[in-house]
């Protein structure tokens, strides 16, 4: 089986696993305990906090560990909305049209509390541009949330420009950097964003751990109460092994970033060039945008996405039709819809996301598999079913 779905999740790096292991055996203290075992766990958390801070050039005190990207996004959006400094009871939030469900859903939940939530559209290329964001911002806008890079298309948003608009209008900016971290060099301090969400399992760390990076000037109402962990910012006994794993994965991602980028970009370019050559009808989405180096989002008319994915699975290739979190719904991707892609074409969408362990022969195998599917479809004369 060839795994080509690294934007859904990544396998744990062996080195990360080695770092975690002691915390699943002899180093089992509760970091809140005053005795030696507890203090050892606390010290290990401190190191992980530094490692995660370094991943995005933040200060360790800006890192709040969470149970993952979804929690970080919820904590950011609801935390700002319900914080005591929200002078007016209900205000406005602006989010990008291509946001992950874990940003869209908490933002929508604010509507029940009287908040106005506006989704701003994206360009055809998939990026949310600064002037569109500026148009949506009004006097009552408290916060904007625009992802650093999109999980489906890989399109990278112009964060510096977006932050500039927010700064000008005194609007807080949150960015979901779950897909960008480990694939791009991120600089929280320079980004202009006040809040940033991260996840470990997208960068060869464990599932069930993430972080919210918060500028100290931002007042946040915590999502979870009780116990006072993370300086009250996130209560609950820390997932020590998970956090240690996140720290190690972050450290490796910093050290190996350039090499990883080179590797995945080489595979992605090779894949897209070959695909365009052997199946010229293929459409590559967001090709006009700057993209994550590992992500290719495309359709090969007249192949239908879901059918194709199942066929590829049988042939030993794990790919996706879009986000894993939306994979239970049969609707076409909201990202493609926002990009103005026709529904029919969107139904054919396939996402390939490369990782460290993929090779050129994986690409060759995938291309042959895609070709054989096209041939099979043509042989069945079913191609007309498309129209």
């Amino acid at each position: 089986m060839v795994y080509l779905d690294h934007n859904a999740t990544t396998p744990l790096d062996q080195r990360v696993w080695q770092a975690m292991q002691p915390y699943l055996s002899e180093q089992y203290g509760n970091p809140s305990s005053a005795h030696a075992l507890g203090r050892a766990a606390r010290a290990a958390l401190d190191l992980a906090r530094e490692q995660v801070a370094q991943l995005v050039n933040a200060h360790p005190s800006q890192v709040i560990f969470t149970s993952g990207g979804t929690e970080a996004n919820n904590a950011a959006i609801k935390g700002v909305a319900f914080s005591s400094t929200a002078t007016k009871p209900a205000m406005k939030m602006v989010i990008g049209a291509t946001e992950h469900a874990s940003v869209r859903a908490p933002a929508e939940s604010l509507q029940r509390h009287g908040w106005q939530v506006e989704r701003v559209g994206c360009e055809e290329s998939g990026i949310v541009s600064a002037h569109v964001l500026a148009q949506a911002i009004t006097g009552s806008t408290r916060m904007a949330s625009v992802m650093w890079a999109n999980n489906e298309s890989g399109a990278i948003n112009p964060l510096a420009e977006l932050a500039g608009v927010c700064r000008e209008h005194e609007v807080l900016l949150h960015t979901d950097a779950v897909q960008a971290a480990g694939k791009l060099a991120l600089d929280f301090a320079a980004s202009g964003a006040q809040l940033m969400s991260l996840s470990a399992h997208k960068l060869y760390g464990p599932k069930g751990v993430g972080a919210l990076i918060v500028d100290k000037a931002v007042s946040l109402e915590p999502l979870l109460h009780g116990g006072g962990q993370e300086r009250g910012g996130r209560c609950g006994t820390e997932n020590v092994a998970g956090i240690i794993g996140f720290g190690k994965a972050a450290e490796l991602a910093v050290v190996e970033l350039a090499e990883r980028q080179r590797h995945s970009l080489r595979l992605r370019d090779y894949f897209e060039q070959t695909l365009s050559r052997v199946l010229p009808q293929a459409v590559i989405f967001a090709a006009g945008a700057e993209r994550l180096p590992n992500t290719s989002f495309f359709a090969i008319p007249p192949l239908e996405g879901r059918t194709l994915i199942m066929a590829l699975d049988r042939m030993g290739f794990a790919v996706a039709s879009g986000s894993a979190c939306g994979s239970e719904q049969h609707q076409p991707s909201h990202v493609l819809k926002a990009m103005g892609v026709a529904t029919e074409l969107a139904h054919g969408a396939l996402r390939v996301s490369f990782g460290q362990q993929n090779t050129e022969s994986d690409v060759d195998g995938l291309i042959s598999a895609l070709q054989s599917q096209i041939k099979q479809l043509q042989a069945m004369g079913a191609a007309t079913a498309w129209s």
């Binding site: 859904a8 999740t9 305990s33 507890g38 599932k207 979870l224 609950g236 020590v240 879901r306």
Partner: protein, 407 residues
């Protein structure tokens, strides 16, 4: 000073992951076994394989509490479960009523969540437990009003180990049509839990208190009659919309295995643990001026919370650095305040300050207990020898009559 590791007597704070649990977890992490997938991935084998493992874990957790697997919602731990249960009910049933009843000896995850709801306009009654630590049913009933939508009472207290009569409380709540949430973080795997027999509507569970991984928990949410919740984490719609977020497969598998082992081994393990606890209690009972905190009978065998009068708890903990014990719950151990649980029981500040919690578990041995007994005798003697209060007490002076001069 010996450099060997302290003997662990803090199983109520957290437990080591059972090696059998760790072994199972590690299969769901790296590329080797191909079981690292995202359970929400519907498009390939990697996703389906882990989904099956998660289903099995869900069944194991449900089995321990006699629930249906469909009633289990995965969370990041008991704190999240408590938050989800209490805020989730409060926000969903807000139109029905705005009153919640809990007790003063609950874990901070319940108390702080209730405080937050008070800020949102809810009314919360914090019941005083009896001196034994147990809730008086008549007082609970008296606190119930037309507006009461939820009662939240823990099954087993984390500091003193007393077991509430949740069955009686459950029956009372059901008869009044009030939802009943139980913080079961310290009870699941230590005492029998049957959500139907006990008429529990919501039950918070933790993995790391019962030899599973930290950062993992679950919330039982009754389906018949159906209990509704407002989700606290929104997103991809995982866990039937009640809790979004990519499922941490290895964590879930770990919790499932820990709960399966707990069910299998609870009876024999409790017997052994009780024997050790009683040995410890008997071994310490010949020290003068010791007081066991909380009911001795209605108590999990794992816990011994004991106050050594005229010895200051923090000094005792330092003196007992060969033992990993706590002077309260781990979550409040950073503060030097006396335990709010012991205060709620009516213990004096002095006795609350001199309390030590020993919690015993799967890997505690008789030799560990004997060493602890010996050490306590030595150190307490030493500390008391240095204490003027102890001298006065021994001289027969009633300390409560002494007029302390201000300085």
């Amino acid at each position: 000073m010996s450099m060997k590791k302290p003997i662990y007597f803090d199983y109520s704070a957290t437990t080591p992951v059972d090696p059998r649990v760790a072994e199972k977890m590690c299969r769901y992490l790296t590329m080797d076994d191909g079981l690292f997938g995202n359970a929400a991935s519907r498009s390939h084998q990697y996703g389906w394989d882990v989904e099956a493992a998660i289903d099995e874990a869900r069944k194991n957790v449900a089995d321990l509490i006699a629930a249906d697997p469909k009633e289990i919602v995965w969370t990041s731990g008991a704190t999240e479960s408590d938050n989800l249960a209490i805020k989730g009910v409060a926000h969903f049933y807000r139109k029905k009523g705005n009153h919640i009843i809990t007790s003063k000896t609950e874990h901070k995850a319940v108390l702080d969540t209730c405080r937050q709801l008070e800020r949102e306009g809810f009314e919360v009654t914090y019941l005083d437990p009896e001196e034994s630590g147990l809730i008086d049913l008549a007082k609970l009933e008296a606190a119930m009003t037309e507006q009461t939508i939820l009662v939240s009472i823990m099954h087993v207290n984390n500091e003193i180990g007393v077991i509430q009569d949740v069955k009686a409380i459950g029956e009372l709540c059901r008869s009044k049509k009030i939802l009943f949430h139980v913080d079961g973080a310290q009870s699941c795997g230590k005492v029998e839990v049957d959500v139907n027999e006990m008429k529990i509507d919501l039950l918070s569970m933790s993995a790391h208190k019962i030899y599973g991984p930290k950062g993992m928990g679950a919330l039982y949410v009754r389906r018949k009659p159906r209990v509704r919740l407002e989700a606290q984490m929104h997103g991809g719609g995982h866990e039937r919309g009640m809790r979004s977020g990519t499922l941490a497969t290895h964590q879930i598998v770990g919790m499932g295995e820990a709960f399966r082992l707990a069910k299998e081994e609870m009876a024999t393990e409790n017997e052994r643990v009780r024997m050790l606890r009683d040995r410890l209690m008997n071994g310490l009972s010949d020290i003068e001026e010791v007081y066991v905190n909380g009911d001795v009978e209605q108590r999990v065998p794992h816990n011994l919370n004991i106050s050594f009068n005229f010895v200051e708890g923090e000094s005792l903990m330092m003196a007992l650095s060969d033992l990993a014990v706590s002077s309260g719950s781990a979550c409040t151990s950073a503060s030097l305040e006396p335990s709010y649980v012991l205060r709620a029981l009516g213990r004096s500040d002095e006795l609350a300050h001199s309390s030590i919690r020993f919690s015993i578990g799967r890997f505690t041995t008789e030799a560990d207990v004997d060493h602890a007994i010996k050490l306590c005798h030595e150190k307490i003697q030493k500390l008391r020898d240095l204490s003027p209060l102890w001298d006065m007490f021994k001289a027969g002076i009633d300390l409560s009559t002494v007029q302390w001069s201000a300085h």
